[in-house]
């Protein structure tokens, strides 16, 4: 009688990589829901298109690389990348933005490095940076929250804007981002930066009509949504607490230092925490296992490093949000961090 041979251990824990990816995708739902509640269903359109492009380009490259296509698609990593891109770009940016971004992420940042597990940079963030520096206008045109809209946007309006750049009535997205008062809309961080550049203090900015009309509130809520999803991830032990905790703690403390030094010119820690892509970054992007540090000490250090870069760029940099840049810079340091934070091996020298 013959028996099968296989390597030990024969017993295995039953959680697979695909399940992890699916869990992460599911935990994005609260944030996505809040986003579409405040900004219209544009982001759902983006998600749909991004998913299709992500899977399509992944399949294409896998086929070219002569790898098993279906098995790799099933791991859900491409889908997750597409989703993250879709939720980070403005909801009504034209369709080709998300197409270029997603294809770039999957083909250049992930597959050309060797596919899942081999990429040095976070695909979603690399794509975001590419889009931001290539198409700064489109990438910063956040429409106001729906309640502040001068026009009510129907589904067809949004679809049309998404596909052609114009609503059914012929308004451009740029026109849409002008609020009732005729002020151009921007994200709170953008507004803050512009205000500082024009010589206002933070307090003045916070009280300005411009800021009040901005989507600050909405973005705070979206951040709460992502925080909620992230907590589920933590609870389900999909991610470990080191990176988010270190990142958020770092963000608070570094920004507090700057804030304490000059409260007029530096935004407060609270503002940092609940604006921009902070929560999305803390729980969904920094924790991407492939590109983050893997040792415990390394993870903490990585979180702190990214937080530091975020604060620096937000406070004195040229771009409104900084998570994407900070993550990429952090990614570069990961091999070094990992090398110098190796744990003490059992019985080994410290």
């Amino acid at each position: 009688m013959a028996f099968m041979n296989s390597s030990s251990p024969h017993q295995r824990q039953r959680r697979t990589t695909s399940q992890i990816m699916v869990m992460v995708i599911l935990c994005l739902i609260p944030g996505v829901f809040l986003q579409s509640y405040f900004f219209g269903i544009g982001n759902l359109l983006q998600i749909t298109l991004a998913s299709v492009v992500a899977l399509g380009s992944e399949a294409l490259i896998l086929k070219l690389r002569k790898r098993p296509v279906l098995r790799s698609l099933k791991d859900g990593s491409a889908l997750l990348t597409g989703l993250l891109i879709a939720v980070s770009i403005p909801p009504l940016s034209p369709w080709w933005i998300v197409v270029i971004g997603t294809a770039f992420a999957v083909i250049f940042v992930k597959q050309l490095y060797g596919g899942l597990g081999q990429n040095l940079f976070n695909p979603a963030m690399a794509a975001y940076v590419v889009l931001l520096i290539s198409f700064p206008v489109q990438m910063t045109s956040w429409i106001p929250v729906q309640s502040l809209h001068p026009f009510s946007l129907t589904f067809m309006d949004q679809l049309s804007a998404f596909l052609s750049g114009f609503t059914l009535d012929g308004y451009t997205v740029a026109q849409l981002s002008v609020s009732i008062d005729g002020l151009t809309m921007a994200t709170p961080l953008d507004t803050a930066r512009n205000a500082l550049h024009s010589g206002f203090t933070i307090t003045e900015m916070l009280n300005s009509a411009e800021f009040k009309a901005s989507s600050a509130q909405a973005i705070q809520w979206v951040n709460v949504g992502f925080l909620f999803g992230g907590l589920i991830l933590l609870y389900k032990r999909i991610i470990q607490w080191y990176i988010p905790a270190a990142f958020l703690a770092g963000l608070v403390s570094f920004s507090f230092i700057a804030f304490a030094y000059n409260p007029d010119l530096n935004i407060s820690p609270l503002f940092h925490i609940f604006s921009g892509a902070t929560m999305l970054g803390a729980f969904f992007i920094l924790t991407d296992p492939v590109t983050a540090a893997t040792t415990v000490k390394g993870r903490i250090f990585y979180g702190l490093l990214v937080a530091l870069i975020v604060v620096i760029i937000r406070n004195i940099g040229g771009y409104p949000d900084a998570v994407a840049f900070a993550v990429l810079l952090g990614n570069m340091c990961v091999p070094l961090i990992d090398y110098y934070t190796q744990p003490k091996v059992y019985g080994g020298r410290a």
Binding site: H10, R12, L116, G117, P343, G347
Partner: protein, 773 residues
Amino acid sequence: MTTQPINLLSEEQLAQISSGKQWTFHGGVHPQENKIQSSGSAICDAGIPEFLVIGIEHKGHSPEMLVKVGDPVLKGQALTKVYGAMVVQHASSSGIVHAIEKRTDLHPSGLPVLSVVIKTDGLDRSIAYNKPDNFRDAPSVTLIETIQHAGIVGLGGAGFPSHLKLSHSDGIKLLIINAAECEPYITADDRLMQEHAQEIFQGIEVLEHILQPKLIVIAVEDNKPQAVEALQLALQKMHLTLRAELIIRTIPTLYPSGSEKQLIEIITGRQTPLGKHPTELGIVMQNVGTVFAVKEAVVDGKPLTSRIVTLTGDALRKKGNASVRIGTPIQYLLDKYQLNSETAQKLIIGGPMMGFSISHGDIPVTKTCNCILAPTVQEIPAPSAEMSCIRCGECAHACPASLLPQQLLWYSQSKDHDKLDDYNLSACIECGACAFVCPSNIPLVEYYRVAKAEINTAEQEAKKAETARIRHKNREARLEQAKIDRQAKHKQAAEKRKQQLKEKNGGEDLIAAALARAKAKKADSAAGENSEQADTPKSAAAAAVARAKAKKAALAEAASESSATGTADKPKNDAVAAAVARAKAKKAAQAQQDSQSDVAEETQLDPKKAAVAAAIARAKAKKAAQAQQDSQSDIAEETQVDPKKAAVAAAVARAKAKKAAAQQNSETAEPEEAPSDPKKAAVAAAVAKAKAKKAASANADQPDNSAVTAAREKRKEQARLHKQEKQQLANEAVKNSLDTALDKNSTAAEDRKAKIAAAVAKAKARQTAQKDQ
């Protein structure tokens, strides 16, 4: 290894341990325990199978045997002598030694080792165990020897000889009895403690006497409450006379707490330094099963002939623990415990975490086999497809050695041995916790094992290369010295010869030498065909003919050599003389054949007369050869053959000799002749071959040439020329070989000429080779 007192456990630490403090180790996992299936039923005897297979090889070394095939053996009888640090192996039941041969070992490789196969008689008679005196009066050295002679190795799984662990007894502070049994499914130790608690304590007494520790800790995982209870009950009943303090410590269930180093950390909070043994800390650990075996050996005088094996898994209809004789085939146990066979099933030796799979059941149980796990496919499915590592770090969390498995995987795949060392691959205990948690189903442990084996091989090879380098250097130095000595001695002779060479260095050139070599080679194969034709009827007669021819050829060769001096100046190619020689040789051969075949027939008809017949045949052959030699030597005076021909002839002769030798080997009708004749044929062939070589090319024995260099160059250049001229020479060579088969007269002078030619050819070849580069 010197024990550094710095690392030893201090008194405070011992006090902390005995006060009940516990530590933890990094990582660890909680696999499904699955122990209830087998822990409920009492240990039973597995019975006596028809054959017992007891492996006696240890790490490639085989000890001296005390039995031989056909010997009757009794249970407990030693099969081997003590050999180095190896333990003695014993027969585990009575019967007869059936065979001593290589049989599949209980090892993941499934490779065979030298084993003693015993055909049992079912009586299970044992030798008379002589109960030793009270062990407390014996010195520990004697007890350790007793343990070695009883064949006791670590029964927990690693199989490390126990006497070695006990012999480092200086400064031992702590004895840990490992009863953690952290692997899922296995309950052998659990049952042992429940049923033989008293014996275990007796064994502890023995170990305490040997090691003199300050503290003894029995470590049991908290999933074995009955075992702990049984131990405590026994402790109350017995009146132990221990000088050391004894503690029964329950530890939390966490895999792999039963691993030696991890258990030490749980109990003492100390880590064994990398690459060191726990004795460094003053700790000795013994498995509870080993303790039981020590008791049997020292108190009862019984050697280790059986062990407790857990038979479990859903594919077995009966489950439980059995006392199994060492060497019992696993198939026997599977039959007894009613295996439900299905396709794609696995059979695991040991637990599901560290055990290995075997591919068939005809493998014997060894001393390290603590569990036979026969799961159904649903229970332990085939591993799913491996996916890419996403560096999630789960493995680093689970690793009890605090390694970074994801980095190790990366470097294992790229075979970067230096990096693997940087990341301390050697600290990996192969517990499988990393692969257990891996969401991408990567068989991490397998990668590490392969990498470890590769590193090991590379180290061995490096070591071997270093030895080779040194030996080569020494040899070169020796040869150099010898050369200098010889040169001084033979300076005169060399001078003289040089003079001679100068005179004779005339007509020969590169091509001649090359031709000679090529022909010699061709002739070799052609002659092979030729003799095959002659020998087609594969009878004794044919063999005899071949043999005779070989002998004749060889002798003729010898004769021509001896009588051919001074003929160099004679005119070339006396065709007539050669023809006469050939004719004579043929005639002689014919006569030889007749006589030989007669004898051979006789031999076949009456094998008993073989010896006589062989003797006659030999004598006749000799006579015929003598005649041949005479005639040959006459002609040799006049015959002048160029070295080409000589080479060819020699080659043919050699080929024939080989053929004859081969035939001889296959022949079984002449038992008397067989041993004597091949030797002769071999000698003949040797002579012939030596000549062929001498004639054909540069000589390795030439005294003022470095033998080694010459041989090397020769080979290189030969190959080159051979390739170049192969085509055009093939036909010619075949033709020549047939004609000149029996013309074998060569002279010393011609030899020298050939040598010079070859040397020239060699030089030229080298030159061209260099140019090519």
